[in-house]
Subunit: 219 residues, 2 copies
C-alpha cells in the first residue's frame, strides 16, 4: 500500500458539511486516534447497521481492535467486510446568546475501509502489548505477556488508516449581530478527560502507579 | 408504542459477549444516554456502513439528534432507515499483572431501530431547547429561541429507545492465580470527563457562567 501524508477521499468520505472544519492530514488524524480511549465501529449485519464500542490503538498507519476470538467484531472485521470507525473527543461546550448558535468544541475522525485479521500469534502478542503501552508507556515490560491460550482466545483485527477525515471545531460562539442585546453569559466551558487518584487493588503495594500518557492529565 | 421498563431483545441486539455485564433496564440506559456528550450513529449507504458522531439528547423514551436540514444524517435517519447508535462513557483504566487482564471500566449503550423526522416547527423548537438545557439546566429560558429561518435550516430526528442494551464494567482487575508473583502495581485509574474554568467570550461580562449538570464535575 502506498502511504500518503493525506488520506484518500471518495463519495462516502467526502466532507459535505462544514468542510472548513475538515482535515485529511495524517498527523492530525493520528493524534486524535492516539488519544481515543474508545471508538465506535459500524458494520452491516443482515443488511442492517450495527455500531459497537471498542478500544482502538494505532500502530503506524493501522488502527487495531481486539475482542473475543469468536465474537462478531472479530469475525466481521477480520473477514474484510466494509466497516466505518468513528472517534470523537469533546473539548468544550460553547454557549451562545441564541439557542441555535450553541455548539461544542471537538476533534473527531471517521474512517472507512475493510479490515483484516491479524492471525500470527507473535504479531498478535506484539500488537496487544502496544495496547498496554498506549494506556501506560512501558507497562508491557512489567506485566506477564500473553500466553498461547490467551492469544488463541483473543482476536486482533486491523484497519488501514487510508480513507476518511478528521473534523476539528474550536473557538468562541459564532454569534449573529441581532442577538447582541441578549443579556447572558457566553463563552466556552472546556471539557477534558481526566485521571483521578489511582486506586490500588492491593492497598499495601509499594509499587508506583502506572505513568499515564500526557493527554490524560490529572484532575 | 407500548413502553416497558426494559428494552426489547432480538438476534441483532442479543448480548453474546459478557452478558453478565448487560442490562436492558430503561433507567440504566437513560442515565448513560443523559450523560453522553456525543453518540455515534451508524447507517447503511449504498450497501456500506457509515458511522458519524452526533450530539444526543433524550426526551422521555426517545433519543434525539439534530443536524443540517439537508444533511445525510437528517435525510437517512428521518427517512426511517434502520440505524444503530452507540454511546460509551469510560470510567477507568484497569491495570492487571498480566497484559491480557487489563481492562477498562465503562458504561455503554447500543440501540437499534428506525428513526423518524420531527417536522413540526414548534416540536423542533421545543426539542432543540431541551438540548440547550441538557448542557446547562435552565439556559433555554435565557437565550434567544430559534427563529423560523433557523428551524427551517435545522433537521431534528428521533429514535425510539426500545431495542438495545447497556453494558457496565466496574471493579478491580480480574487476575489469574498464576500471576501472583509479578511485581507490579495493579488497580484502577479512574477516568472522568471534567469541566474546566469557563472562558467568557466577553471578558468583561458580569453574567454568571452557566450551571452544569452534576455529571460534569469541575476539574
Amino acid at each position: 500500500m502506498t502511504v500518503s501524508d493525506h488520506l484518500a477521499i471518495s463519495p462516502r468520505s467526502e466532507l459535505r458539511r462544514r468542510p472548513d472544519r475538515g482535515s485529511r492530514d495524517r498527523a492530525t488524524l493520528n493524534a486524535i486516534l492516539d488519544e481515543a480511549l474508545v471508538c465506535h465501529i459500524g458494520f452491516v449485519a443482515d443488511g442492517e447497521p450495527v455500531v459497537i464500542p471498542a478500544t482502538p490503538w494505532r500502530i503506524g498507519d493501522w488502527l487495531y481492535l481486539h475482542g473475543a476470538a469468536g465474537g462478531r467484531l472479530i469475525r466481521v472485521v477480520g473477514s474484510g467486510a466494509p466497516v466505518s470507525v468513528s472517534v470523537a473527543l469533546v473539548d468544550g461546550l460553547v454557549f451562545a446568546r441564541s439557542a441555535m448558535r450553541h455548539s461544542s468544541d471537538y476533534r473527531s475522525v471517521v474512517l472507512f475501509g475493510r479490515g483484516e485479521a491479524v492471525t500470527d500469534p507473535a504479531a498478535k502478542a506484539a500488537a496487544l502489548l502496544q495496547l498496554v503501552d498506549k494506556l501506560s508507556p512501558g507497562r508491557s515490560l512489567l506485566v506477564r505477556p500473553p500466553d498461547d491460550k490467551e492469544l488463541a482466545a483473543t482476536g486482533v483485527v486491523r484497519l488501514a488508516i487510508d480513507e476518511g477525515a478528521a473534523k476539528v471545531r474550536t473557538g468562541p460562539p459564532a454569534e449573529v449581530e441581532k442577538d447582541a442585546g441578549w443579556q447572558v453569559w457566553t463563552g466556552t466551558v472546556p471539557v477534558s478527560v481526566r485521571a483521578g487518584a489511582p486506586v490500588p487493588a492491593e492497598p499495601e503495594t509499594t509499587h508506583p502507579p502506572p505513568p499515564l500518557r500526557p493527554w490524560l492529565r490529572p484532575e
